[in-house]
């Protein structure tokens, strides 16, 4: 494919407008079909039995009584999901997480499942399954788990990334290090040094739609899966591998999705549903309850982070260092590594060093959550930056501007930046009226910066032109944030037709080539690139057909504003042919007109944001209220500005919940205490102010329209911005997220007592 993805400045007619979304009417009228809204004839109800223990050997499972219950059609355990992973450790972990094989590793770990003719019988059957556990000591806290005397979760884990392989196993799976320069030298040059330790508690993505799927395995080796996911092609690969199916014979269709935020990038229930269907010989629907969603899916890492930053009197940072410990659940991960990469990515540093430790704990397997690992690192770093600015007597924004990364800066994680938005977002914040608005008693203002890499990846798109001149666009990236509208705008822009004449769908895995999932803020970035490419391929055919219709050489045909134009004075009597004119004749000029594209969307431009937050604290109760919030972020080019703003606001809203109240609370018994929305407190509407947004557009040189991903960066600054605001309101540095009222009140009381 001769596709040139480089940015070329152009004037847009469709891109940058705000039409209504094509999936909107279905969603507000209740017609949209989510994961649990699909049904098949003869379908059974699947239910999963989960471990009540944080850590236990499964000595024996007796399913005989459950199997004898009338109405039960299949009961499965790990035996029904034999290990086909062939030494692939990551896939083995996914398999073991879907159904515990030897040990239950957390409260909520699946140990068996049933398929029955109705939910009542399925629930009764679960009660008839007898599991003989040998309960083991457990550990749920990230710092305790990293101690050498902690209960061992996996005795085959010897810390990787050390100079010598350790003699003893531990819960620390890996050490990683990033940076450059000499931090010892840098700290020696510093006039001021701030050193602090921080903790953040584990949070869940909190998507409103629970995991749900319908699986149907046929005797001929074909299978279908209808599922709520961020990546149906990835689910197909994983499920096919785990169940020994041929990928092309497993057709996966993605439903509408009621939120994913990274949490629907991973299979849990799907291999179980397929195994149940295979055994029962009938379709099986498996829908998680909210309790199961909290106990067995999702969450992000709990963290413990030490930061040290030094600066000269003139405000130049001379050295920065961080040690980051991230919980991974009971399986190896690279969460601290990502935290270590992002921690200082906003700054231009001569001497920087970050070290990450991946820590196993008896909690659910850590999954991606919107810019995974970055918000916690930003909380620790941006809190310390604020404190250092105060010690220097510098304004917090000016201090950041002085040290901000720019084009040509070598990032703390290695690469050299191209054109980036950190400086411009800081300058915009400095000028923003929010920064000058007066504050009342007990109110504080904070600001903070955030970074996210963004991702591109494998993408495949089809664009078909109907004989009536309307266009159907089939993409393989699941629409989690309005991408069908955005991609329709891009197709309309490139073809030169009206947005209303384009209809985008998310195609199933049998209809398109492989697509990576909608993660890394890649949906609109990568699929818009593939859509532009597909549209350009279709335009080639359109020009060819126009040339045929005119009977002139195709070299003399150009495409402008939705029309084929015959170039030159000799064709002065030929009126332009519209896309509709050409489409109408397609049956006699060579058949259907389509454009296809398959590509790897490289060059997803890095993304930066700066947030401002005002908080009021009740000093007698520790209660907080967010009274004003502003997001400034670089979008490269906002294809559909309303959805870009929605992403900015959504990330901020989730960050506010995380900063103030959301947390997994474990009892001493290792069981999750708050597996529901009553006691896992995501914000309700009345908890949030209107979140103001400002979109900056610093074009990404690696995308034809300059687009950058926008979905994730907005959750990176809030923890720090809010912590800085609370600290400014009450005069006490808050170092533990969430800053729930009991934590704030305890910090205030401690300060009062000196």
């Amino acid at each position: 494919m001769n596709f040139d993805p480089r940015y070329s400045g152009r004037n847009f007619s469709s891109v940058g407008t705000r039409p209504i979304r094509p999936d909107g009417v279905d969603k507000v009228t209740g017609r949209a079909r989510y994961g649990a809204d699909f049904n098949m004839a003869g379908q059974l109800v699947g239910r999963v039995l989960r471990s009540p223990h944080a850590h236990a050997i499964i000595k024996k499972i007796d399913t005989s009584k459950a199997e004898k219950l009338a109405g039960v059609k299949a009961v499965i355990t790990a035996k029904d999901l034999p290990d086909l992973t062939d030494g692939d450790a990551a896939m083995y972990d996914i398999l073991d997480n879907s159904m515990a094989r030897k040990k239950a590793l957390y409260d909520g770990h699946a140990v068996a499942a049933v398929a029955a003719i109705d939910a009542r019988i399925a629930r009764q059957a679960l009660k008839l399954i007898e599991v003989d556990y040998e309960v083991l000591p457990h550990v749920t806290d990230v710092d305790e788990a990293a101690q050498h005397h902690a209960p061992l979760i996996n005795d085959q884990v010897f810390t990787e990334g050390l100079e010598e392989k350790p003699a003893k196993p531990s819960n620390v799976t890996k050490r990683t290090q990033f940076g450059h320069g000499d931090v010892h030298k840098g700290f020696a040059e510093a006039d001021f040094v701030v050193e602090r330790s921080f903790k953040t508690e584990q949070t869940h993505q909190g998507y409103i739609e629970p995991h749900a799927c319908v699986a149907s395995v046929n005797p001929d080796g074909t299978a279908e899966l209808w599922v709520c996911t961020q990546g149906h092609f990835v689910y197909r690969q994983h499920c096919a591998q785990l169940l020994g199916l041929e990928a092309s014979k497993l057709r996966v269709t993605s439903s509408e999705i009621g939120g994913g935020f990274g949490g629907k990038t991973h299979v849990w229930a799907e291999p179980v549903a397929l195994a149940l269907s295979r055994k029962a010989g009938r379709p099986v629907k498996l829908v998680m309850t909210r309790d199961e969603v909290f106990r067995a899916s999702g969450p992000t890492s709990a963290t413990s982070i030490d930061v040290r930053i030094g600066a000269r009197k003139d405000g130049t940072i001379t050295a920065a260092e961080a040690t980051l410990r991230y919980s991974c659940g009971p399986y190896a991960g690279s969460w601290a590594e990502i935290g270590a990469m992002t921690a200082f990515a906003c700054y231009r540093l001569e001497n920087v060093k970050t070290v990450g430790y991946e820590v196993l704990v008896n909690r659910p397997k850590t999954a991606a959550y919107r810019a995974p690992s970055a918000p916690m690192a930003a909380f620790a770093v941006e809190s310390s930056i604020d404190e250092l600015a105060k010690e220097l007597g510098m304004d917090a924004v000016d201090f950041r501007i002085k040290n901000a990364a720019q084009e040509g800066t070598r990032a703390s994680y290695g690469p050299v930046y191209g054109p980036i938005g950190i400086g411009p977002t800081l300058e915009a914040v400095k000028k923003h009226p929010h920064m000058k608005a007066p504050l009342k008693a007990n109110q504080g203002r904070g600001m903070a910066c955030g970074f996210w890499f963004n991702f591109g990846g494998q993408t495949c798109t089809d664009l078909n032109i109907g004989m009536d001149g309307t266009v159907s666009l089939a993409v393989g990236t699941v629409d989690v944030g309005g991408s069908r509208a955005s991609l329709s705008l891009v197709a309309a822009e490139e073809l030169g037709i009206d947005y209303g004449n384009v209809k985008a769908i998310v195609a199933d895995t049998s209809s398109l080539g492989y697509n990576d999932m909608t993660d890394g803020s890649r949906g609109t970035f990568s699929s818009s690139m593939a859509t532009i490419s597909a549209a350009r391929n279709a335009i080639k055919i359109l020009k060819d057909r126009a040339a045929q219709m005119w009977d002139i050489p195709v070299e003399d045909v150009t495409w402008e504003k939705g029309h084929a134009i015959a170039k030159g004075e000799k064709y002065g009597n030929l009126s332009p042919l519209s896309l509709k004119d050409i489409a109408a004749k397609s049956g006699t000029t060579g058949g259907p007109i389509a454009g296809h594209s398959e590509l790897v969307a490289d060059g997803a431009g890095v993304s930066f944001a700066t947030h401002i937050c005002d908080i009021e604290v009740d000093p007698e109760t520790g209660a907080t209220r967010v009274i004003r919030y502003t997001v400034v972020q670089d979008a490269g080019k906002a294809v559909h500005p309303t959805y870009v703003e929605g992403q900015y606001q959504g990330g901020a809203a989730q960050g506010i919940g995380w900063a103030l109240n959301e947390e997994y609370i474990y009892g001493k018994d290792g069981r999750l205490q708050n597996a529901g929305f009553l006691d896992y407190r995501i914000p309700v509407c009345s908890d949030l102010p209107m979140i103001d947004t400002q979109i900056l557009e610093i074009p990404n040189p690696n995308h034809p329209y300059g687009v950058r991903g926008v979905g994730e960066t907005s959750i990176v600054p809030p923890l720090a911005a809010i912590a800085n605001a609370v600290s400014n309101a009450v005069g006490v540095r808050m170092t533990h997220i969430p800053m729930s009222p009991p934590r704030i009140l305890a910090a205030l009381e401690a300060e009062r007592e000196g």
Partner: protein
């Protein structure tokens, strides 16, 4: 499972009295259905009391108000006379759950669910409300604080139903108020709460006072000493300090997912002070 909808309190009592397996009373269902769905209880008999004559009515009598056991909390908020007389009770009832839940839930159900964090109960206890209990051996009237005996447990015997809550007629210069602490702005459950009910004399000094605390002990607490300290005062700084101290001391809270012991003690005192100030102003304005 059997669902019945009797038309008289006698039939309801009779069915409950002869029930063999676990039985449950259904009014709004905002606690019962959630507990059934969560698999915490599996009743064999459900007695829906909404069709029983008079149970869905608020009646103003010579002695005060009679609130039927099936009156949804939202209806309390629409009753001007009740709101005028007992604003604290009504505001407590209208804090439960969400708007949708308030359209179903009842203060009697809130009382019988016997959660120490129930929002309407501290307000009812402060108001010296009484419960009319119908049972196999006839009817009796008891103080509301005598109903819950521990989390999820009540003093009601088999076959007994609370058919109404009684609130006294208000004298002049009387006011009540209820405040709870929640980390969110709504759709939440009290971490700790306080209800205060005051009457004033002609000079504006407090004549009688009742203070109740929620989520501060296994049952809602009536803190008599806190009421006594208010009597005779005009809610000066020093009295408020003593009130907070007594309330913090009276708490027997626990550390749990919703808050710590220290937090609940401190905030119980703060909320009692603030609720007392609101009740005092309401009483003075009448």
């Amino acid at each position: 499972m059997r669902y019945i909808r009797p038309l008289s309190i006698e039939d309801a009592v009779g069915e409950l009295a002869k029930a063999v397996g676990p039985a449950a009373i259904l009014a709004g269902g905002s606690d019962l259905l959630v507990r059934m769905k969560g698999g915490f209880i599996e009743p064999e008999l459900i007695v829906d009391i909404k069709a029983i004559g008079g149970l869905a009515d608020i009646t103003e009598t010579a002695d005060g108000f009679r609130i039927g056991a099936a009156v949804p909390c939202a209806v309390l908020g629409e009753n001007k006379a009740l709101k005028q007389a007992w604003p604290g009770v009504v505001e407590a009832a209208n804090l439960i759950g969400s708007k949708q839940v308030q359209g179903r839930c009842t203060i009697t159900g809130n009382l019988c669910n016997a959660s120490p964090a129930a929002d309407s109960v501290p307000a009812l206890v402060a108001a010296a409300a009484q419960a009319v209990v119908a049972g196999p051996s006839g009817k009796r009237t008891i103080a509301v604080e005598a109903v819950p005996t521990g989390p999820g447990r009540t003093s009601l015997a088999k076959g007994e139903i609370i058919e109404a809550i009684l609130l006294e007629k208000r004298p002049e210069h009387a006011g009540d108020a209820y405040l709870r602490f929640i980390p969110r702005t709504e759709m939440d459950i009290a971490v700790v709460s306080a209800g205060v009910n005051l009457t004033l004399d002609e000079k504006g000094a407090i004549k009688t006072a009742r203070v109740a605390l929620g989520a501060a002990a296994p049952t809602v607490l009536l803190v008599e000493e806190a009421g006594q300290v208010l009597v005779g005062s005009k809610l000066d700084e020093e009295t408020l300090e003593r009130l907070a101290k007594i309330c913090a001391g009276a708490c027997r809270p626990i550390d749990d997912k919703r808050g710590t012991i220290e937090f609940r003690r401190k905030v119980a005192g703060v909320l009692a002070q603030r609720a007392a100030a609101i009740a005092y102003k309401r009483a003075g304005d009448k």
